[in-house]
Structure formats: structure tokens, C-alpha cells
């Protein structure tokens, strides 16, 4: 640019670059521009400029809408992973049986199916889950009122088998705070209020029912058990340790109004 500005309108031309101030012919101008064009710095700058232009053009496409090919890629990847996983599982020593189905749950068990543990006799497992009881097993005595008392271990076994319904005899506030997954609230001091709500949810009179409250001296669970016995239910047991023992054993809990 400097060259062109200084050389405009002048009639002389110096062959040396250092003294070059004027341009006298179009041909020479072309040659000079060629020389300048071949200069390494210029070439680099122009190459950079070209690259930037290309990138800027492509940058106009700020995002790409996933097309058919993307879905095909995803599908292929999923198919490959699926086949690999099945093959790996069939040769893996700790693999599991894919075809086995868990035992069908009854209508009542659907109440607790989302929060209860898997039955240990589920045929799908080659290696059934083993859980070490954290509290020593104690005998399950039957008292004069013919209601069986259960320890936390016995309760956990029934909980795992999903064969029983738990009734929480504590206050609704305490129940909402936390309770055994699947348990229904049946407050022992308001039997008239809770009975019409809970009893229709029980499957039949032979349904295995476990009641619990605060353990120790708490007799709310006993009141509930007696009420149910009077109503004709035959399989009622009381979890003597109640909520404190369950919580101490760190077994699963649910929170909220729902079972």
C-alpha cells in the first residue's frame, strides 16, 4: 500500500526495492505485486485469511439438526451393545438368567411392590442376594392373646418375601416422617377413623398382617391387632421392636403419606 501510495502519478522506476518510489508500467506493477505476493509473510497471512473465511462460512451453521444418519448410528450402537451384553452375560461366571420371571404378585402385593425388596427365592438369580442380619435373631413367642410376636429378623424375612401387609399404628405425622415401605397407616388411637380406610385394602381375612408402633411399652400395635382379630382376620402378628428396631437395622424406609 505504501508503495502504491507513494508511486502514484510518478514517471520514474527504480529497479531496486529500497529506492522504489514510482511505477512506470503496468507490467512492472504486476511483477512487483507477484514478488510481494510470494513474500512468505504475505502468503502466511493470506493462507490464514482463507482459513478464517472457510471457518466463518461453516460457522454460520451454528448447530446441526440430528438427521436420519444420527439415528442410524445410535441404533447400530445400541444393537452392538445389546448383542455384546447378552454374549458377555452368557459366558460371565456372575451372569444372571435372563428368561426367568419373578413370581407374580397378588393384588395386595401391588401396594408394596414398588418399595419392597426382591424375594430371595427369585429364580432369576444364580447368586441370590445375601444379607447378614445386623441384629441377633430372637425367638418369636406367642402370648396368651394368641398373637405372635416377631423380632426384626423375622419381620425382615416376611418383608423380603412380600407375603404380608404392614400396618403402622403410630400417629399419621410419624408415619409420614418415615415408615416401612408398603406399610399402611392405622393409628391405634383412632381405630374408628382408620378402619374404614385400611380394611378394604386388605385382600382377605387370611391375609398375613404385621402391626408395629414404637416398640417397648407401646401398645398401639396391640390395639390394632386386637381390632383386626375381632373383625375376623386370622393371621396377625406384632413386631415387638417396632419402628426403632427397623430403623436401627438400617432397613429400607419410605417417606410421605403413601405406602
Amino acid at each position: 500500500m505504501k508503495l502504491l501510495q507513494e508511486g502514484q502519478g510518478r514517471g520514474s522506476f527504480s529497479p531496486h526495492f529500497s529506492g522504489m518510489k514510482t511505477l512506470d508500467s503496468p507490467e512492472r506493477t504486476r511483477q512487483l505485486l507477484e514478488i510481494l505476493h510470494r513474500a512468505p509473510t504475505i502468503e502466511i497471512l493470506m493462507a490464514l485469511k482463507r482459513t478464517q473465511n472457510i471457518l466463518n462460512q461453516s460457522a454460520k451453521l451454528a448447530f446441526v439438526v440430528p438427521g436420519k444418519e444420527v439415528f442410524l448410528q445410535a441404533w447400530n450402537l445400541l444393537a452392538f451393545s445389546f448383542i455384546f451384553a447378552i454374549l458377555f452375560n452368557s459366558f460371565y461366571s456372575d451372569g444372571i438368567e435372563l428368561k426367568a420371571k419373578p413370581p407374580k404378585s397378588s393384588n395386595l402385593q401391588t401396594i408394596i411392590k414398588n418399595s419392597s425388596s426382591l424375594a430371595p427365592d427369585y429364580p432369576g438369580w444364580k447368586k441370590p442376594p445375601t444379607q447378614t442380619p445386623r441384629i441377633k435373631s430372637i425367638p418369636t413367642p406367642t402370648t396368651a392373646d394368641n398373637i405372635t410376636r416377631l423380632s426384626v429378623v423375622g419381620v425382615k424375612e416376611r418383608f423380603d418375601k412380600k407375603t404380608c401387609v404392614f400396618l403402622d399404628a403410630r400417629k399419621p405425622e410419624e408415619y409420614q416422617e418415615s415408615h416401612i415401605p408398603g406399610a399402611l397407616n392405622f393409628y391405634g388411637n383412632e381405630l374408628e377413623k382408620f378402619a374404614p380406610l385400611v380394611i378394604p385394602q386388605l385382600m382377605d381375612k387370611n391375609q398375613e398382617i404385621i402391626t408395629y408402633c414404637h416398640g417397648g411399652d407401646c401398645d398401639l400395635s396391640l390395639q390394632v391387632a386386637k381390632t383386626l382379630m375381632e373383625a375376623g382376620f386370622t393371621h396377625i402378628e406384632i413386631f415387638t421392636g417396632g419402628w426403632p428396631d427397623w430403623k436401627k437395622a438400617s432397613y429400607p424406609v419410605s417417606v410421605g403419606e403413601k405406602p
Binding site: Q52, L55, N56, S58, A59, L61, A62, F63, V64, V65, P66, G67, E69, V70, F71, L72, Q73, A74, W75, N76, L77, L78, F80, S81, F82, F84, A85, I86, F88, N89, Y92, D94, G95, I96, E97, L98, A100, K101, P102, S105, K113, N114, S115, S116, S117, L118, G124, W125, K126, K127, P129, S178, P181, P252, V253, S254, V255, G256, E257, K258
Partner: protein, 187 residues
């Protein structure tokens, strides 16, 4: 190990949020100049991070499908009972291979689509459990973790989804085994 202990739902949410900010920043020329290189660099970074997240999450589940199936049964009611075993076997490998593809850049766009889909499913499953009041550990990265699922877990997964989405719609990437950097080659 101490660094790994710090990676809980909250910190992961914050990190992913910062990553997304970084990516948006590159788009508006805050962090990088010229624009395009910075944008591609950040989306490449996002892609690799997403890959490590997914592959890392799968490692604990790959070797123990039994424990994972128990976790699904106990905590995630969205899977039908007959499908629990197959899900426990297949999902970790989905995660692993998708993560591997994202890291290596091989079929990265399809992998990022799966990543997004998985994050939506996980968010839905965790939200469902939280609304039902089921008190479980997430089992997302470590099955025996004591950290319970919270709304932070949902936030984390949604932010992971956002990261995956940015990767999915980005036209270019660096360090890719795929020669699909040309936006015309896809879609």
C-alpha cells in the same frame, strides 16, 4: 481418592453448569477468539467429559449385574418385572460403549443421542421415586454409595442432558475417529 469423594450430585451439577456456561461463552466470543476454534474446542471438551461420565458410571455395574438388578427392583419401579434381569445386563454395556464412542469420537453424534436419551430416562426415574417418597440410593456411579437420591440428582442429570444436547447439535468436533466434521456429511 479425596477428589473422587467430592464428586457428589451437587458438585457434579455445578461442574456441568460451568461447562455449559463455557460452551455458551465460546459461542458469544467471551472466552475464545477466533470464534469457531473456541466453539469446537469446548464442544469437544464436552463430548469427552460426557464420555467419561457415562463410561465411569457403567464400570461399577458391569461386573455385578445381580446387585444392579436388585437396585433396579428396589428403587426404580419404571422397569417391568420380567425385564429387570435383561435391563440389568444390557444398560451398563449401553453406557460403557456409548461413553467409549463419545471419548474416542467414533460415531459420536449417535452416541450423544443415546447419552441424551439415557439422561432423560434417568431423570424421569429419579423424579418418579422422589415424588413417591422412595428413599433409595441412586446407584448412578457407585451402587453401594450411601448418598441418597435427591432433587440434586435430577438437576445433575438434566444438566448432563444439556451437555449431551450441545454435543449432539454441534457441527464440528476435534480429536474424532469419525471423519464427520464436515457438517454436510450429516443431516
Amino acid at each position: 481418592m479425596r477428589i473422587l469423594e467430592l464428586l457428589n450430585d451437587k458438585t457434579l451439577s455445578v461442574f456441568s453448569f460451568l461447562f455449559i456456561l463455557l460452551c455458551c461463552g465460546s459461542k458469544v466470543r467471551i472466552f475464545s477468539s477466533p470464534r469457531v476454534e473456541g466453539e469446537i474446542a469446548t464442544t469437544t471438551l464436552l463430548r469427552i467429559v460426557c464420555g467419561f461420565i457415562l463410561a465411569g458410571a457403567s464400570l461399577d455395574k458391569l461386573g455385578d449385574p445381580t446387585a444392579f438388578s436388585i437396585l433396579i427392583k428396589e428403587c426404580y419401579g419404571i422397569v417391568p418385572l420380567p425385564l429387570i434381569s435383561s435391563t440389568a445386563v444390557v444398560i451398563p454395556w449401553f453406557e460403557f460403549f456409548t461413553g467409549l464412542c463419545l471419548i474416542s469420537g467414533f460415531r459420536w453424534r449417535g452416541a450423544s443421542l443415546i447419552f441424551c436419551a439415557l439422561m432423560i430416562i434417568y431423570s424421569f426415574a429419579i423424579t418418579r421415586d422422589l415424588l413417591k417418597g422412595i428413599d433409595c440410593n441412586c446407584g448412578c456411579f457407585k451402587m453401594d454409595s450411601e448418598e441418597k437420591m435427591t432433587w440434586w440428582s435430577v438437576a445433575r442429570d438434566m444438566l448432563f442432558f444439556a451437555m449431551g444436547f450441545v454435543v449432539l447439535v454441534s457441527p464440528h468436533t476435534f480429536f474424532s475417529l469419525d471423519r464427520s466434521n464436515n457438517p454436510k456429511s450429516l443431516s
